[in-house]
Symmetry: C2
Subunit: 350 residues, 2 copies
DNA sequence: CTGAAAGCGCTTACAG
DNA sequence: CTGAAAGCGCTTACAG
């Protein structure tokens, strides 16, 4: 029987279920039954075992347990990023998702492994094959077309995964995403209702970034309802960062096309754009109405506060985890589109 | 010998090192040697094994390996938070640390478990005793006094851990933190150099939050060099959020004490405070100079851009991981204080 | 309700 | 340089 030593920094002797068994006067198998919550244990026996567990501060060895059950009780969160690996700054929207996913995992009793991935990494197999995780959560903006092939491979291999992103009918595997088209539409309708007709769009507007593209098309649809349309000269590519938003707004101004509103594909872009607009002497919202997307915490504290489209990251994180767990459990699951809603603040001049 | 099946979503048969051994015509032990990089393997044999590994897309079972070696190859990142568990919003400063820690782990070939913890949780033992992780990284503002006892328990148990935070001489275990006192001092000296003497401080200033307190005391030291001092009426408690910063600035205004500068204990507080100052018709920096702390990405895009004290989160993440790994490896390690530096932007009126 | 025993898939002395 | 074998700490049929 091993003993506990408190010898300063030296590691204590490892306590196993056998130690508990000896102490409680039962077999090791019974200890395991108690710890797994088996109903086939006498109440008095159970109590003795639980006492011993507490006294020795015993914890089940995760690896032995997982090796035996072939279940790790762990999910892996893979964050894709553009190839700027030296930057520590992750898109706050995703970080917010990381937060809600972490919490959802805790609630479900799952551990969460987290890792950044480059598109070039061999991530498609590693986590599940090595038993590190029972399933994967995929998160990240970026070029879909570039990694659709990898998703297909995951499906072919039978890997369990869910991804956050646009729900496209031909997308391999399950997706949970925001209703970007409708989000764009309500942003557009809001601006249209305020009399704006020349709406610039800052963000990628192509099938390489389907989420932004849907937001763009939604806004376009709103404009078309009143006989207008998004104009090519007023669309400038940008990824989701303040820097890109700043640069895109500068580019927009340099092009010289007239515009009375900016719909930014994300709040970060909007924040950068507002800075550029201010630098150019334009007033928000008097001269230019600005609407963002995401409703990051900072949106309430920009100057002026930012009107934006809210994405429910809390719900999204929960759904991602729940759906993945159901899939792992062999249940039927399906893609989900979450509704978007408008949050009106001062930047749109409403 | 197991075989790979691609039957739609069904799980493939698990491939083990025995399958590789058969295919390569060697013993299972040799497969293991190759995979562990043992030098005791013939080059030709090694090649055959590696080919088989590639062809069958084999990955070592992590749990079997860890069970045998008693090493998990995993670190756990525990984030402490105040008891508002329903909020998905984590302090962006910590999220930035999460980013750099995640990257540092990847570089070191370590997996990273992440978890939010409440002070009430029984986190002090779980991760290491269950072999889930070889060591812990502790992250989180919050009340030190409240969890010093837990740190002592960790040390007594021989758990390997490092924490981010103030390096206090009587703190149990290792800490890596920013030079908060000097950070506060350079912020104060900057403001003093601009002729400001009545500096308000927004943030906790007591031993319950030693980091903020050090920043406060550093600023006070700068003021004392010119015969001034921080005034009690100009100090308002705030935790690190825009909401708290906003509320604290309102409180400050309501108190009616004269001030010509605000030193916010964090950028988030500064952002909230600038909003409150603007609402009150005060101009930054003309009427009130504002300095923050952290240098979050958003600091460049506030209006006006925020003068702040830079903390090197990238380096911090690396040091946290490296130090922990050394500790796990049995090497001698020590606490580290990272330098702070001033980033001058418009909000201070320099 | 409980125990003895097999086995999950590795790693690593040990023997050759 | 390589193989046979023990064993890491659990879980779970199987037998009672």
């Amino acid at each position: 029987m091993s003993q506990v030593h408190y010898l300063g920094r030296s590691k204590k002797t490892k306590i196993t279920s056998l130690d508990i068994a000896h102490r409680a006067g039962v077999s090791q198998a019974t200890v395991s039954r108690v710890l797994r919550g088996s109903p086939l244990v006498n109440a008095e026996t159970r109590r003795r075992v639980e006492d011993a567990v507490r006294e020795l501060n015993y914890k089940v060895d995760r690896h032995a347990s997982s090796l035996r059950t072939q279940r790790s009780g762990t999910l892996a969160l893979l964050l894709f990023e553009d190839p700027t690996p030296d930057e520590s700054h992750i898109n706050p929207f995703f970080l917010s998702m990381v937060g809600s996913i972490t919490r959802a995992c805790a609630r479900e009793g799952q551990d969460l492994l987290i890792s950044f991935q480059q598109l070039s990494d061999d991530w498609h197999a590693d986590y599940e094959d090595s038993m590190k995780a029972d399933g994967l959560i995929l998160l990240g903006y970026g070029d879909y077309l570039a990694y659709t092939g990898k998703l297909e491979k995951l499906v072919a291999q039978g890997t369990r995964f869910v991804r956050w992103g646009a729900v496209l009918h031909d997308q391999p595997g399950l997706s949970i995403g925001c209703d970007n088209f409708n989000g764009g539409r309500i942003a557009g309708e809001h601006l249209v209702g305020l009399g704006r007709r020349r709406i610039a769009f800052l963000g990628g507007a192509s099938s390489h970034c389907p989420e932004f593209f849907d937001r763009f098309r939604g806004c376009d649809a709103a404009l078309r309802e009143v006989g207008g349309a998004m104009e090519a000269i007023l669309q400038v590519d940008a990824e989701s960062s303040e820097e890109d938003g700043f640069a895109a707004a500068r580019e927009l101004l340099a092009r010289g096309g007239a515009f009375d509103a900016v719909f930014a594909a994300s709040d970060l872009i909007a924040v950068g754009a507002m800075r550029a607009l201010a630098d150019a002497g334009l007033r928000v919202p008097e001269d230019i109405a600005v609407v963002g997307f995401d409703d990051l915490p900072m949106a309430r504290f920009t100057s002026p506060p930012l009107t934006t489209v809210f994405q429910d990251t809390k719900r999204a994180g929960e759904l991602l985890v729940e759906t993945l767990l159901r899939q792992i459990g062999g249940e039927q699951t399906q893609s989900i589109t979450l509704p978007a809603s408008l949050v009106v603040r001062k930047s749109s001049g409403a």
